[in-house]
């Protein structure tokens, strides 16, 4: 607890500093790279990667509020992500391509996510904690089926393609002249919208987990029985944590829809996305918020840049039995899965936990 001298930086980070020089440098580099991404890494593809990183930082951090801070393993997080994305997608596709529709869709998605999260939380009141993970898995698969079946509303398997407000369209130009060689088009504006909202949401979550409310969540994680004995109604706190985390995930989903101008079951609802989030949070470090942010960077970069490297390796091993198949670019998840298991064994606190351990 570093509550003493509350400078402006401490206030911004809610007194939760990264804790070690190396981690601080890494995070500052990340922040700088993301803040200047369209200028440092021009090109449609790399800006899209940077935007994905921003969105997944929010998504992984919101999952960390559940998994790392409260100690609940839920597998329905993509469902909330999808609710936000479908909210925006449906509003933009069915109403008009204006800001009103974006707002309406976002609010509807977030509210739906909160209601469903509270319902799941209240049901978990009655059952053993063990059942919770299984129930969330079942509910998430139900949501996936619902999204593919309600074809009129969600576009089924094909998903929805829609127009975004004029300001965010690739054809829009803010200024006639390029700035630093980069044209200020709708893509860049979309990126900065996503970046600003993501940063604000991340700082908000940092604020929440370091509030007295956040301390109660950590108390529940450490010893639920004792927290209850101290007079905290653990069920209420767990449900609130779930609702908060769901709302954040839905907001991330809304950003995802704006980025892609498309939404479908594979992008936001599939189990593969859930596995990605899990890997991000655990590899980065549960219960730190900074960890999931780093984990999101590692995973998204791996998704985009590990595969070409593996393709090269697979080609080099062409003569061997089975090895080319193991290093096939589509097997990247195999290696991340191995990394995941090793991290759970040997570094249960993830990258950030390991870095903090070595700090004095």
């Amino acid at each position: 607890m570093r509550r003493g001298a509350a400078g402006p930086l401490d206030r911004l980070l809610s007194g939760d500093r990264p804790g070690t020089p190396l981690l601080s440098v890494l995070l500052l580099l990340l922040l700088a790279a993301l803040a200047l991404a369209p200028f440092l890494f021009p090109g449609t593809r790399s800006v899209a990667v940077a935007a994905r990183i921003c969105i997944f930082i929010v998504l992984a951090a919101s999952y960390d509020v559940m998994l790392g801070y409260t100690g609940i393993a839920s597998f329905a997080h993509t469902m909330f992500f999808g609710m936000g994305a479908y909210g925006v997608a449906i509003a933009l596709a069915k109403l008009s391509a204006g800001w009103g529709a974006v707002l309406l869709g976002t609010v509807a998605g977030v509210l739906l996510a909160i209601v469903v999260a509270v319902l799941i939380g209240l049901l978990s009141l009655r059952v053993r904690a063990v059942f919770f993970s299984m129930i969330t898995l079942a509910v998430a698969s139900f949501a996936l089926i619902l999204a593919t079946q309600l074809r009129d509303l969600t576009g089924g398997e094909d998903g929805l393609t829609f127009s975004v407000p004029e300001l965010l369209r690739p054809g829009f130009r803010l200024a006639a002249e390029p700035v630093l060689g980069v044209p200020l088009d709708g893509r860049v504006i979309t990126y900065y919208l996503i970046f600003a909202v993501s940063l604000a949401l991340f700082l908000l979550m940092l604020r929440i987990v370091n509030s007295p409310f956040g301390r109660v969540l950590q108390a529940i994680r450490e010893n639920e029985f004792r927290a209850e004995a101290l007079g905290y109604r653990t069920v209420v706190y767990r449900t609130l944590a779930g609702a908060l985390s769901a709302a954040m995930a839905a907001l991330a989903g809304a950003l995802m829809a704006l980025l892609l101008r498309y939404n479908g079951p594979d992008v936001t609802l599939s189990f593969a996305v859930m596995v990605d989030i899990l890997l991000m949070v655990v590899i980065g470090g549960m219960g730190t918020l900074y960890g999931p942010a780093l984990g999101a960077v590692v995973l998204v970069m791996a998704e985009y840049y590990l595969q070409p490297a593996m393709a090269g390796l697979s080609g080099a091993l062409a003569g061997w039995p089975l090895l080319p198949a193991l290093f096939d670019p589509d097997r990247w998840l195999l290696w991340l899965g191995l990394l995941f298991v090793l991290v759970v064994y040997f570094f249960p606190a993830g990258i950030v936990g390991k870095l903090r351990e070595r700090a004095p």
């Binding site: 904690a129 079942a138 596995v275 589509d330 097997r331 995941f340 298991v341």
Partner: protein
Amino acid sequence: MIARWLSLRAGDWAPYALLPLLVLATLPVMSFSTWLTLTVAGFAMGMMLFLMAAGLTLIFGLMQVFTFAHGAFITLGAYLAVSVFGALAGWSSATSWALNLAVLAAALAVALLASGAAGYVFERLIIRRVYGAHLRQILITMGGLIIAEQLVVAIWGANPLPLPKPASFQGSLIIAGAAIEKYRLIAVVLGLAVYAGLHLLLNRTRVGLLVRAGVENIEMVEALGYRIRRLFIGVFVTGTALAGIGGVMWGLYQELVTRSIGSEMTILIFIILIIGGLGSIGGCFTAAILVGLVTNYVGFLAPKLALGSTILLMMLVLLWRPRGLFPVGAG
């Protein structure tokens, strides 16, 4: 008398009535032949689900290990069936019951041994280090599932593989005007045999007694000097071996094997465990049939609601009996 034979407490008859009530309640909604077809189909599906779920309910109930990797062993069983049927294609396509049953038996034996062996390795390498830490169990078995699914794809390829039923198992028998697939009858026979075997093992042998005692109170069994860890290995290997033969049966039933065959079943299996009550073989058996029947009835009446209906069933059961229909032990 019957109540004593079933060792019921007063007022505890309701869960037993659920299954007959469901079967009878659907009779007026459809014609008799349709009802008979669906009921047999539901029983057959329930039996295959039971094969896959039986081991897991013991793993959860006795070992208190919350593994999410059970689906990987189902997938392994299904893919092994593809290989065995591919190697013995001549036996499978011959219209001889003896040869067809022999190839099925071979596939079941291979899946039983290989899944059991894989389960042993999994227990030694992965589960053993996380006994007692539930969150880490969930995470690490999830990682195991990812690795196993990717390995299956690396070995057998990413495309779905066809797994046609042997020649003699195809087609249906007509009984009382209802078409009943032959393969479903085979599944029912195998499921009943495994249930009977497990029932005898658990209720008539010393090992079974220890397993049941362990589900109820693990510390007491250890305090009496039994090495519960050895039982754990046995239960885990049995559970994964059963999942493997469940995968063979389910793959043949679907006639198509995909890499997600196991993880798709995992959700239904969890629903069964929750409905039946963790650690209860009888509860698992009843719940599996219940889920099989509901899936088939609803699949006929309102096809789009099939999986939704089982989730709804689970919710209703939980509101009624939060610990499942047939809870075991002190919880």
